[in-house]
């Protein structure tokens, strides 16, 4: 499932791309799985066709999706995408975590709240945990 918030500050294209990335990372979408057409997803979400098309294009550029004439858009999976080194991935994650934690601090959340939220999300992505 993919959920977007129209009242969010995050642009819709980014929300859709992030939602799809999460679905791929969590295993909801597996390599080779076909994605709904741009028309279907845009209709279901009640957003412009171009918004969904842009999100698909962004994910194609990052190597997570591929579009073939006649076969539609499919999940490529991480093997075909250029995989960053572990150190690089950790550095990128650290930067993004800083942003998230800054938001949490400014929103007045306590460290326990943040920890609980993270722990709630982990089983979604690492099923064996």
């Amino acid at each position: 499932m993919l959920t977007v918030r129209l009242d969010s500050d995050v642009p819709l294209t980014e929300q859709i791309a992030a939602g799809l990335r999460t679905a791929i990372a969590s295993g909801e979408l597996r390599p080779g799985d076909p994605l709904p057409t741009v028309r279907q997803l845009a209709g279901d979400l009640g957003v412009n066709l171009n918004t969904v098309a842009r999100a698909y294009r962004d994910l194609e550029k990052s190597g997570l999706l591929t579009s073939t004439r006649g076969r539609g858009t499919q999940v490529v999976g991480q093997t075909e995408a250029p995989r960053p080194s572990r150190a690089h991935a950790q550095r990128r994650l650290s930067e993004r975590l800083q942003e998230v934690l800054t938001d949490a601090r400014l929103a007045g959340l306590a460290p326990e709240d943040v920890r609980r939220l993270v722990e709630q999300q982990i089983p979604r992505f690492w099923k064996t945990v």
Partner: protein, 282 residues
């Protein structure tokens, strides 16, 4: 007057004229009107116009039937179209917006399934052979009937041939029409239950199978009429049968469409129930 004549010349036109009004009234059996206060005035005007329009149409039919020629009375049934499209449809969409609404536009949180629906097509590719066979058989029989068509009927035969050729759009565009139908919006809201997904699937299949069946029936009915007419069935008789077939198929299409609309509006009602609304407010 035979029973068939009575059906085509009297009963059918009257039914056609009453149908738009009857349809609007019958909707109340399934749903209560949801007219927004600002639109009440417009809805009232449309309701009264529909009442008056139906009465005027029936009076015209009565006069044409009683004092004028038969054929004119039959032509009156075409008043169905302004009554339906200009009065009944706007009134229905005003009173039952959810039946005609494909998306719940007022929701700030929107959810969609990530499964391509066109892969779940209830009409397999091989099934589209049937409409092609019906169309081609009609065409072949028309060519065969050319020998039967006498010299004076040659023009009529050519018209039948041209119309039969034109019917090719049904088998040619049918698959893409069904594919497009399968991609109609199916808005969801968290948490998504399997019941809702199953209901959406059922209504989608119902519409797709309904459309396919109607395409096949239309091809069968009109091909048969063309061939029968080319083989010597008299023009007026063929016209009457054509009218009956057209009306029956048109009404069947409307019933399938509106039933699916009602079904979808019930699903939307469940998706957009109060707990979800209050969740979004929070």
């Amino acid at each position: 007057m035979t029973q068939f004549d009575f059906l085509v010349r009297v009963a059918l036109p009257v039914l056609m004229l009453i149908a738009p009004l009857a349809f609007v009234l019958a909707m109340r059996l399934f749903l209560s009107p949801m007219v927004a206060p600002a639109q009440v005035r417009r809805a009232r005007i449309l309701t009264w116009s529909l009442w008056c329009g139906t009465l005027v149409a029936l009076v015209i039919f009565g006069v044409a039937h009683q004092y004028l020629r038969w054929n004119l009375a039959v032509q009156v049934m075409f008043l169905f179209f302004p009554l339906w499209f200009a009065l009944a449809m706007p009134l229905l969409s005003l009173q039952y917006p959810k039946v005609f609404q494909t998306h719940l536009h007022d929701r700030p949180i929107r959810t969609a399934a990530l499964v391509p629906r066109e892969l779940e097509n209830p009409i397999p590719r091989v099934a589209w052979l049937l409409p092609w066979v019906l169309w081609a058989t009609g065409l072949a029989l028309l060519f065969w009937a050319r020998q039967a068509a006498q010299a004076e009927n040659l023009l009529q035969w050519r018209i039948h041939l041209a119309v039969q050729f034109a019917l090719v759009f049904l088998p040619a565009l049918g698959p893409s029409m069904v594919r497009r139908l399968l991609q109609e919006p199916e808005p969801l809201s968290e948490p998504v239950t399997s019941d809702v997904l199953e209901d959406y699937r059922s209504v989608r299949f119902f519409r797709a199978i309904g459309m396919y069946t109607l395409i096949c029936l239309m091809l069968f009915a009109f091909s048969a009429l063309h061939v029968a007419s080319a083989c010597g069935m008299s023009g007026p008789v063929a016209g009457r049968w054509g009218t009956v077939a057209g009306i029956v198929l048109g009404v069947a299409g409307t019933v399938v469409g509106v039933t699916a609309g009602l079904w979808r509006s019930r699903i939307h009602g469940r998706v957009w129930s109060e707990p979800n609304r209050s969740q979004e407010r929070r």
